[in-house]
């Protein structure tokens, strides 16, 4: 699987051409994404926050699941790269008239789209599209099922690098509903690839994946133990719909055991970073005083999200253009 994922995402020269998963990507490539993102952060501080890289390119945001933050940061990132952006509201589009996903995508490609940003409830949907439907369109995974959410993981590790400068020696705890979290899966892979000392998962058994050790993580069931000596705490959103599956006794019980408040934060190293991919459920997984406190970098994560998305979009577009050129000798593949 890592080999497959790598082959699908990279050109023969090892350049990014789709961004589907952290799985299969190595430290040098992840580091290059972070370095490129650093340069885009600087662009975001200028009078004119825009560069001409993707001028004349068309990007389609295809969100088959609702999203506010991710979709809007992808849109802003594309606009800052000077691309034309189409946001497709899937609920009112052709798919509700019975058109298949493949047909929708082929039609969009026929409109000369260069890149699809895809969020889908089915794990592997972006891979399928990159492999079988429109391989000559750069595909960016914006979250697929329980599989991966790679741009979220990259913005998280970028935020960690900004504050900690290096990954080696770091202990990172991920807390909450890990079992249902594509964010956590991508985070664990990115953190391990970049060489942190230890990734810890803190959750009740019912919210843990079946194979935490295979993912390269150490499991804790109690915050008091799991948070000891950690440098970074990543809180996950408690997906309230999970309550119904009897995976949890109650919201208040969960908060008592796994909610991050000032008292539990004190178990971690002094100055440990508090992170959250959003949206936050205040008082369900995190206390307001902690979410808004001095150790929280949650809003910085959002800012970094734009830069990271600019980085992967421009890198994937570059690789894709290379690929098209070597395939056809010219810029655009035949429809």
């Amino acid at each position: 699987m890592p080999d497959n994922s790598r082959r699908l995402q990279l050109t023969a020269d090892g350049e990014l051409r789709h961004f589907l998963a952290i799985e299969g990507l190595d430290k040098p490539l992840l580091t290059r994404i972070l370095d490129t993102a650093d340069s885009f952060i600087e662009v975001g501080e200028r009078t004119i926050k825009k560069v001409p890289l993707l001028r004349g390119r068309t990007l389609v945001n295809l969100f088959f699941e609702p999203s506010t933050r991710t979709r809007s940061t992808f849109e802003l990132a594309a606009k800052r790269l000077s691309a034309d952006v189409l946001n497709l509201d899937i609920g009112t589009s052709a798919t509700s008239k019975g058109e298949s996903l493949s047909d929708t995508l082929l039609n969009l490609r026929a409109m000369a789209s260069d890149m699809f940003v895809i969020r889908h409830s089915q794990s592997g949907a972006p891979h399928f599209i990159a492999q079988s439907v429109t391989p000559d369109v750069a595909i960016i995974n914006a979250g697929d099922g329980r599989h991966e959410h790679p741009t979220q993981a990259m913005l998280d590790v970028l935020t960690i690098r900004q504050h900690m400068t290096t990954f080696s020696g770091l202990r990172v705890a991920i807390v909450g509903d890990i079992q249902h979290s594509r964010v956590a899966r991508s985070q664990i892979r990115a953190l391990n690839a970049l060489g942190v000392d230890e990734v810890r998962l803190i959750a009740p058994d019912t919210l843990l994946p079946h194979d935490p050790e295979a993912l390269g993580a150490r499991v804790f069931h109690r915050m008091e133990e799991g948070l000891r000596n950690v440098d970074v705490i990543i809180m996950l959103r408690l997906q309230r719909e999970r309550m119904e599956g009897a995976l949890l006794p109650s919201e208040s019980e969960f908060y008592r055991m796994y909610g991050l408040n000032r008292e539990k934060l004190a178990y971690a190293n002094p100055g440990a970073l508090v992170m959250h991919p959003g949206p936050i459920n205040r008082g369900v997984e995190i206390e307001s005083a902690v979410a808004d406190g001095p150790q929280s970098v949650i809003l910085g994560q959002v800012t970094n999200g734009i830069a990271v998305r600019m980085a992967v979009m421009s890198m994937a577009m570059g690789g894709q253009l290379n690929e098209r050129q070597s395939a056809t000798g010219e810029g655009v593949a035949s429809p």
């Binding site: 350049e15 560069v51 890289l53 050129q325």
Partner: protein, 167 residues
């Protein structure tokens, strides 16, 4: 090759003459990475400019993105002053097609509207593809098809001509 000190001294004299002819009060130096930054720093010292040297990475503004993609090595541009209304001294080590300078000027304008831009380059190889000319040049050279010029640095600065095998 040529003695760099000599070239830099000549450029400094020419820049002083340019500054007084144009009536420029002060120049804010900005070099194009990496060689241009070294030359900009050397000129800044000689001209006694107090303003810190800016550094431009033009990767996001190159006009060959659709042909060769994003350059792998990249670091943030750094302009330690407001460019709006300033007289800028843009410096590169080598000018040939003029495309790098075009990209650099496009980038500079995204920081604000400078009052003026003066262009200084250490080596001018000719073979221009765009109507862009330096105000001050250290030396004009023409190279054979298989030759490439490179500035080594930052201390000491040294120009070398390399023979490259046929592409």
């Amino acid at each position: 090759m040529q003695d760099i000190e000599q070239l830099l001294n000549r450029m400094t004299d020419d820049l002083r003459a340019h500054i007084s002819a144009q009536g420029l009060s002060s120049l804010c130096p900005v070099g194009i990475r990496t060689g241009g930054v070294w030359v900009a720093q050397a000129l800044r010292r000689r001209l006694g400019i107090e303003t810190e040297c800016g550094e431009l990475d033009i990767t996001f503004y190159r006009d060959d993105f659709s042909r060769i993609g994003l350059h792998p090595r990249i670091s943030p541009s750094r302009l330690p002053y407001e460019t709006e209304g300033q007289n800028l001294l843009l410096v590169d080590d080598v000018i040939m097609s003029g495309r790098t300078i075009r990209a650099a000027m496009n980038e500079l304008f995204d920081y604000g509207r400078p009052e003026s831009i003066t262009l200084a380059t250490l080596v001018d190889l000719g073979r221009r593809e765009l109507p862009i000319q330096p105000d001050v040049t250290g030396i004009h050279r023409s190279l054979g098809a298989c030759q490439r010029i490179k500035l080594q640095g930052p201390e000491p600065l040294e120009l070398t001509v390399e023979e490259v095998p046929d592409a």
